[in-house]
Amino acid sequence: MRSRWLMFAITFIAILYFYMRDSLVTTSVIGTAITFGLPLAMAAMVGIMCERTGIVNIGIEGTLLVSSFVGFFTASASGNLILGLISAVAMGAISGLLLSLLAVTWKMDQIIAGTIINILATGLTSFFYKQGHTIPSTFPEVDIPGLSSIPFFGPVLFMHGPLTYTGIILIFVLWVALYKTPWGLRSRAVGEHPSSADTAGVSVIKLRYLNVAIAGAFGGLAGAYLTLELVGSWDRGFSAGKGFTALALMIFGRWNPIGALGAAIFFGTAQAVTNQLMITQVVTIPQQFTNMLPYVLTILILAISAGKVRAPAAEGQPYEKEQA
C-alpha cells in the first residue's frame, strides 16, 4: 500500500514540477496520458467485474478485438458512428455471454475458456477483415463549457470525446455500485464465498451471467472507444495486448475500479512521457523499444504487486450447488 501512495506522490510532484517549467507541454502530455490510459482502465473494469464475481476473464483481449472490429465495420458500412458504438457494445456483451456459457454453465477451466475467446476473436476478425474501409469521422471532441477553461485540468479532463467522458463516469459508477449497493455486496459475496451467498438467497449462476455480460458490454465500449474515437481505423491485431495489460492493472489496482484507473493513468503517463521525449528528441531510443515499454511495464507491475495482493477467493472455481 505504501508503495502505491509513494507512486502517486512522485507522479503528482513530477507533474507539478514540469507544469511550472513548461505548462503547455505538460498539459498536453497528461492529456495524452488520459487518452492512453483510459482504454486500459475500461478494459480493466471488465476484469474487475468478472473477477469480483469469481470468473477469471483472460478473454478481454478477444472482447476488445472483436468488438472494435464489429464497431468499426458497422460504422463504416452504415456511415453512422452511433450504430457502430451500439454494435460494438452488443458484440462485447455477446463475448461476455460466451464466456459465461463456457465458464459458468459448462464449468470449463476459465483460463482455457478465455484463451478460446481470444483465439476465436483472432480467427474471425482476420478472416472477415477487408482492407481499405474507412469511417466518415471519429467521435468529435466535446469541450465542456466553463470547465474546459480551467488551466491544466480543463484541457486534461474536459476536452475529450463523448466516449472518454462516458468511460470515466462509468468507472466511478462501477466503484459506487460495487461498494455501496446491494448488487455490489452480492457480487462480491459471490466472488468470495459463493455457497454463503447462495444460502443468503443470491442466485450465484444468474449473478455471474449478468455481471460477465455487463462486463463484456463494457469491454465493447472500450473497443468502440479505441476504434471510433481514438484511432479511427482498424487493422489485424488491433487490440495489441491491451486486454492483458488491463489484467495486470486490475491486479495492481487490487480489483478496485479507482485503483485500476490510477494504475492505468500511471501507465498512460509513462507512455506519454516516452512519446514526448521521442518527439522532442531529448533521447533517441529505437522505436521498437518504445513499443516494448507497455509490455515490460506490465511484467514489472505484476512482479511488484503480485503476491502482495489477494484475489477474490472463489475466483476460477465453477460453482456447484451442494447436494443434499
Partner: protein
C-alpha cells in the same frame, strides 16, 4: 473403447469445423469443394507435398510439445511463440556470425543457441510464477511481444544484412544448415523422437510423475514433499528450450535467416495442437501433420479456389473451441470425456 473416445472427439470437432469453414467460403462466394480438394491434394497428394507437409509439421510438433509438457505440470504456456522467436533469432545469429567451424560443431552449436535463448525466455515467466506468483499467461503473452519487438530491432539494426534493403539477418552459413534427406529436413524425425521421449518421461519416470502431481494438485504435491517451485521452473525451462529448438530448426532447416515476418503463428498453432491432443505428447504428432498440411497448402487453396488462407485460422479456432468446450460431449453422451484439462487461477 477408451482409445476410440479419445480419437472420436477431435475427429468430430474437425468435421464440424470444416463444415463451418465451407459455409464461410460459400458466404464469400467461393466453392468449398474445390478449396478443400486443392487443400488436401496439395498437402497429402504427392511425395513433394507430403515432404512439405512434414517440414511444416516439424516446428509444430516441437511447439505443441512445449505447450503439452507445461500443461501436464499445470502451467499454460502461451508464450511458445516468443520462446520460438528467441530461439530462431539466436540460432540465426550463431549460424551466420560464428565462422570457420565444421558442420559437426557449428550446427549443434547453433541449435544450442536457439535452445538456450528459448529456455531463457521461458524461465523468466517460470521464475516470476515460482517466486512472485505472477500468472504465466500474462507474462508469457507480454514476453511474446517483447521478443517480437527485440527481433525487429535486431533485424533492422545490429543484425542487419549489410547492403540489404529488407530488414533481415545475413543467411546462415552452410555449415550450420540442417541437411535434408529425400527433400525433407531431418528435424521432423527429431521432433517425433522428442514426442516419444516426452511420452516416456511422463509414463515411466519419477520426474515426470512429480511434474504431473504438481499439475494435478499443488497442495497434495507439496504435502508429499515435492517442490512445486522446482517443478514450475523445470517445466517452463523445458518448454522454453523445446520452443527454442523449434525456432532453431525452422531457421536452420527452412528459412535460413531471421526476418521479422518469421512464421507468425507456429506458437499459437502449438497451443491448439496441445489442447487438441488433450496434453498427450504422442497425440501431438498426428495433430501437427494435419496442421502442417493445412498451413503448407493454404497458398495453393487461395490460388485454385480464391479462398483466403485466413480461413485456416478460423477453422483451427473452431476446432479448438469444439475440443476444449464440452459441447460435443454434451450432445453425444458416450464420448463425454471425464478428464478436463485444468490450469489455475491467479492465486495458485
Amino acid at each position: 473403447m477408451k482409445y476410440l473416445r479419445s480419437w472420436l472427439l477431435p475427429a468430430i470437432a474437425l468435421l464440424v469445423a470444416f463444415a463451418v469453414g465451407a459455409l464461410m467460403m460459400k458466404i464469400q462466394g467461393a466453392n468449398p469443394f474445390v478449396a478443400y480438394k486443392s487443400l488436401f491434394t496439395s498437402a497429402f497428394g504427392s511425395s513433394a507435398g507430403i515432404a512439405k507437409t512434414l517440414g511444416k509439421a516439424t516446428p509444430l510438433i516441437i511447439s505443441g510439445l512445449a505447450v503439452t509438457i507445461c500443461l501436464r505440470a499445470g502451467l499454460f504456456n502461451i508464450g511458445v511463440q516468443g520462446q520460438l522467436l528467441a530461439g530462431a533469432l539466436a540460432s540465426a545469429w550463431a549460424g551466420y556470425a560464428i565462422k570457420g567451424l565444421p558442420t559437426i560443431i557449428h550446427l549443434p552449436l547453433a541449435l544450442l543457441f536457439g535452445v538456450f535463448f528459448g529456455a531463457l525466455t521461458g524461465i523468466i515467466a517460470g521464475a516470476l510464477k515460482a517466486f512472485r506468483g505472477v500468472h504465466e499467461v500474462i507474462t508469457t503473452i507480454m514476453l511474446n511481444s517483447i521478443v517480437l519487438q527485440l527481433g525487429e530491432y535486431l533485424a533492422y539494426g545490429p543484425f542487419k544484412e549489410p547492403g540489404q534493403q529488407l530488414a533481415r539477418t545475413p543467411e546462415v552459413l552452410n555449415s550450420a544448415k540442417i541437411p535434408q534427406i529425400f527433400g525433407m529436413p531431418l528435424g521432423f524425425f527429431l521432433g517425433v523422437a522428442l514426442a516419444v521421449i516426452a511420452w516416456w518421461v511422463f509414463k515411466t519416470t519419477t520426474s515426470g510423475f512429480r511434474m504431473e502431481t504438481v499439475g494435478r494438485n499443488k497442495s497434495a504435491a507439496w504435502y508429499a514433499g515435492i517442490s512445486v517451485k522446482r517443478s514450475i521452473l523445470i517445466s517452463m525451462f523445458v518448454g522454453g528450450a523445446l520452443a527454442g529448438l523449434g525456432g532453431a530448426i525452422e531457421t536452420l532447416g527452412v528459412v535460413g535467416r531471421y526476418e521479422p515476418a518469421f512464421n507468425g503463428g507456429i506458437g499459437f498453432d502449438g497451443i491448439t495442437i496441445a489442447l487438441l491432443g488433450r496434453a498427450n505428447p504422442l497425440a501431438v504428432i498426428p495433430g501437427s501433420i494435419l496442421f502442417g498440411g493445412m498451413r503448407g497448402a493454404g497458398a495453393s487453396m487461395q490460388f485454385t479456389a480464391g479462398v483466403s488462407p485466413d480461413i485456416i485460422d478460423l477453422i483451427l479456432a473452431i476446432v479448438l473451441f469444439l475440443v476444449t468446450a464440452p459441447l460435443i460431449g454434451k450432445m453425444i453422451k458416450s464420448i463425454r470425456d471425464t478428464e478436463q484439462i485444468t490450469t489455475g487461477g491467479w492465486g495458485n
